[in-house]
């Protein structure tokens, strides 16, 4: 076998015993892409440049789309099979594709992670991660108001795979601790919840997890690595629905899991068997979308702040859920995310769900559609979409009141956004 220092091998010498095995974990997998100078480059520069692959033959500035399912074998490929570093060598696109690697490198750089895995969707990333990092009879603690898809996975499927799940109020550290069992292996929480924007006490949760030897997996979709980097605060894995802010253009379905190479390699090995890998074209689009992530997030945040402020004194609006509003119940979010808290605003209108439906009918700027995080504003009602599987009582229990509207604020002009909703509110009150 040739010396593969690029894959963590220090020497070709045969080992006599396990202590003489030389392969170390390395960041990656990676191409010949620029590595961010973390000490001197801002996140804005990392967004644009990290991970982008320069083709040596043509000099193309953008990463080519490696629209291929398979790659020619060479000696390196056979050695990778024999020694077990198949994640680092192009072999077959479900195992890894350079288009995936480029965007994985970019996201890893943004998150401060050793490795990132791109999956076919946020749910693929969540399901694969939870299965990879727990065992049969393992116990997971999650929040009773995570995204509906995550909740359904945890409630309906995990027990069929031998995992036990407890749901608690994710903002209550005492409740989380009380739920711990000897078999608890993993906490799964959203850093900012959907749709009421509750913030978890992240530092306390990480401290508790470290004391009790529990892994921390966080879904950071609503905040993006621009506003919060959970790995820097001690989380083990951070997950995004890349469909939302990371891609930002409502034209890609993807998910990512980032963390140490040790844990992401396990998630990758699980993904190989479950099959939720991301295709090269979507990888390319995601990489392209990420180049403007920093600009988009700032505008999303500024527009959300402006909208929240306008809604808080708009006739017909009963309650506004946003970290900038006085009385927001989770003030620690400003310590965790001083630069911004994302682009979602939720609010309750008078007239209950009927009033909210009426409002949607009158809005002209946002699309009435599910999803969030795109450049265009989107609006939907949790009661009949994301939280439709809950009964009314269950919705009330987690704080979803009649008339709740979730507004994913885009990067349009803030004045236009506010004018549109003001007109719509006036129309429904007329």
């Amino acid at each position: 076998m040739k010396l593969y220092s690029a894959f963590g091998f220090e020497t070709d010498e045969k080992a006599a015993w396990l202590d003489e095995l030389k392969r170390r974990r390395i960041d990656g997998p990676r191409l010949n892409s620029p590595v961010p100078d973390k000490a001197n480059q801002s996140r804005d520069t990392v967004c644009v440049h990290a991970g982008t692959y320069t083709d040596p033959t043509t000099g193309a500035v953008g990463t080519p789309i490696f629209q291929t399912t398979t790659f020619r074998f060479g000696e390196q490929s056979y050695d990778a099979f024999m020694e077990g570093f198949t994640r680092d060598v192009p072999i077959y696109s479900r195992y890894g594709n350079p288009s995936q690697w480029a965007v994985q490198q970019k996201i890893a750089a943004l998150e401060g992670a050793e490795s990132t895995l791109l999956c076919a969707s946020g749910m693929a990333a969540i399901a694969t991660t939870l299965l990879a990092l727990t065992s049969h009879d393992g116990h997971i603690i999650s929040s009773n108001d995570v995204y509906g898809g995550s909740y359904n996975l945890l409630r309906e499927d995990m027990h069929q795979w031998g995992r036990d799940v407890s749901f608690v109020d994710g903002t209550d550290i005492d409740a989380i601790e009380a739920a711990i069992k000897p078999t608890t292996q993993l906490f799964f929480f959203e850093t900012l919840t959907n749709p009421l924007l509750k913030a978890i006490p992240l530092r306390e949760i990480v401290a508790l997890a470290h004391r009790r030897k529990i892994l921390v997996v966080l879904d950071n979709t609503f905040l993006s690595p621009i506003f919060l980097r959970p790995l820097e605060l001690g989380a083990d894995i951070v997950i995004h629905s890349a469909t939302k802010y990371l891609n930002g253009h409502s034209d890609v379905t993807a998910g990512v899991a980032s963390g140490s190479r040790k844990y992401v390699d396990r998630i990758w090995a699980q993904m190989l068997k479950l099959g939720g890998s991301c295709d090269p074209l979507s990888s390319f689009l995601l990489e392209r979308g990420l180049k403007t992530l920093h600009l988009r997030m700032r505008t999303h945040h500024a527009n959300a702040m402006a909208l929240a402020a306008a809604l808080s004194c708009m006739p017909g609006v009963k309650t506004v859920h946003h970290p900038s509003i006085e009385g927001y119940r989770y003030p620690w979010v400003h310590d965790l995310c001083p630069d911004g808290q994302g682009g979602v605003v939720s609010f309750e209108v008078e007239g209950g769900d009927a009033g909210a439906l009426n409002l949607l009918d009158k809005l002209r700027l946002p699309a009435v559609a599910t999803s969030l995080g795109g450049v265009e504003s989107l609006v939907s009602l949790p009661f009949n979409t994301s939280h439709n599987s809950l009964t009314q009582d269950q919705q009330r229990k987690i704080g979803i009141q009649p008339g709740l509207v979730r507004y994913s604020v885009g990067i349009e002009d803030a004045h236009d956004i506010i004018t549109d909703i003001r007109n719509a509110m006036e129309a429904i009150q007329a």
Partner: protein, 351 residues
């Protein structure tokens, strides 16, 4: 992958441990419970693997004697004896360590099997008969086997003297005191016990990756599966060798305590014997020569439920520990002989 094992991943673990020794500490624990049935229930407790908890979903019925085990099997219930579990743990560890040693040296393996001949109290040494067909020649394989005898944790545990800490507590419970089944009395108290100590011969065979199958020769029982935790490259299909060793020891103490408690007419509604031990991978992997490869910090605790007097329980538990053959194997150094039959794969079939 070589022999179904991801050598790069094993290498990564070894190099991680060099930087972060706390990741090398694996704390195993098992519990064996009696709640009135003729057989005990053995459970593997969550494992602390380095800095993370690993759930261990394994439970099995443990019969105090081979006769009870055969009776249970005749009724369709799988039951194991303490001897079987203990020796499976010993053999499984030796075989997995051999597998790792050969794979580290890049020898492709076609067949790997170990027979353990355990006299069980007759004063003879335990004997291994190892059969291996691999790409290595006989001297090369023998060199690996020499290393295995130095670095297999369970083998090292048996060839060295060890202390086992014992703690006892009683829990007052109200309700029915269970009737402890009387063991058949024989002319000599020792005869009944020695009858349980018949020679045990077990075959242990490598199946694939790090999974093994083990079976008692001449028994009607099914195979015992042996695996390692996911964090070490296994698939969590079965207990690992250290867990089997501890289950064998704990159930052996449970068996002796049950008999003593019955004779003493203790008022119990149940009892549980748990055993724990620590394995430091730095020792097995030879990363730190100061770290012993064997199972360390072994501790046994007995919890008695019911109305029994605690000091009486403590005395009987100590006697049970002293009478347990498996505990004797752990506490006193054993001699273990090894014979090997090493066949080399034809060159044209080697990778």
């Amino acid at each position: 992958m070589r022999n179904g094992i991801n050598v790069a991943a094993i290498s990564e673990i070894a190099n991680e441990i060099k930087l972060f020794p706390q990741e090398a500490l694996y704390r195993y624990e098992v519990a064996v419970r009696w709640d009135g049935a003729p057989a005990f229930t053995g459970r593997v407790q969550p494992l602390l693997a380095g800095t993370t908890v690993s759930a261990r979903p394994f439970q099995l019925r443990i019969a105090p004697t081979r006769e009870v085990a055969e009776q249970a099997r005749a009724m369709g219930e799988d039951a194991r004896t303490p001897d079987e579990l203990f020796i499976a743990g010993l053999g499984g560890c030796v075989l997995i360590t051999t597998l790792m040693g050969l794979t580290t040296k890049a020898y492709a393996i076609s067949r790997l099997a170990l027979q353990i001949d355990a006299p069980m109290g007759k004063g003879e040494d335990i004997a291994y008969r190892l059969a291996c067909c691999s790409a290595g020649n006989a001297q090369e394989v023998a060199a690996v086997v020499d290393m295995v005898q130095n670095y297999s944790p369970n083998h090292r545990t048996l060839v060295e003297a060890n202390e086992v800490q014992l703690t006892v507590r009683t829990v007052r419970t109200h309700g029915d005191v269970l009737v402890m089944a009387q063991a058949p009395k024989s002319a000599s108290p020792d005869t009944a016990r020695n009858a349980r100590l018949d020679r045990l011969v077990m075959d242990c065979e490598w199946e694939r990756s790090v999974q093994l199958r083990s079976r008692v020769v001449t028994s009607s029982g099914t195979d015992l599966l042996i695996d390692v935790p996911k964090s070490m490259g296994g698939i969590d299909k079965a207990p690992n060798p250290q867990e089997y060793l501890l289950l064998g020891a704990a159930s052996s103490v449970a068996r002796e305590f049950h008999e003593l408690a019955t004779d003493a007419k203790l008022k119990l509604s149940g009892f549980e014997v748990s055993m724990s031990g620590l394995v430091d991978l730095q020792g097995i992997m030879r990363i730190d020569p100061e770290v012993p490869p064997k199972v360390q910090e072994m501790a046994c605790s007995l919890t008695a439920f019911g109305e029994a007097d605690e000091s009486q329980c403590r005395a009987l538990a100590q006697e049970a520990l002293n009478r347990s053959h498996q505990m004797a194997l752990l506490r006193q150094p054993m001699k273990i002989g090894i014979e090997g039959s090493y066949e080399t794969l034809p060159l044209e079939t080697q990778w």
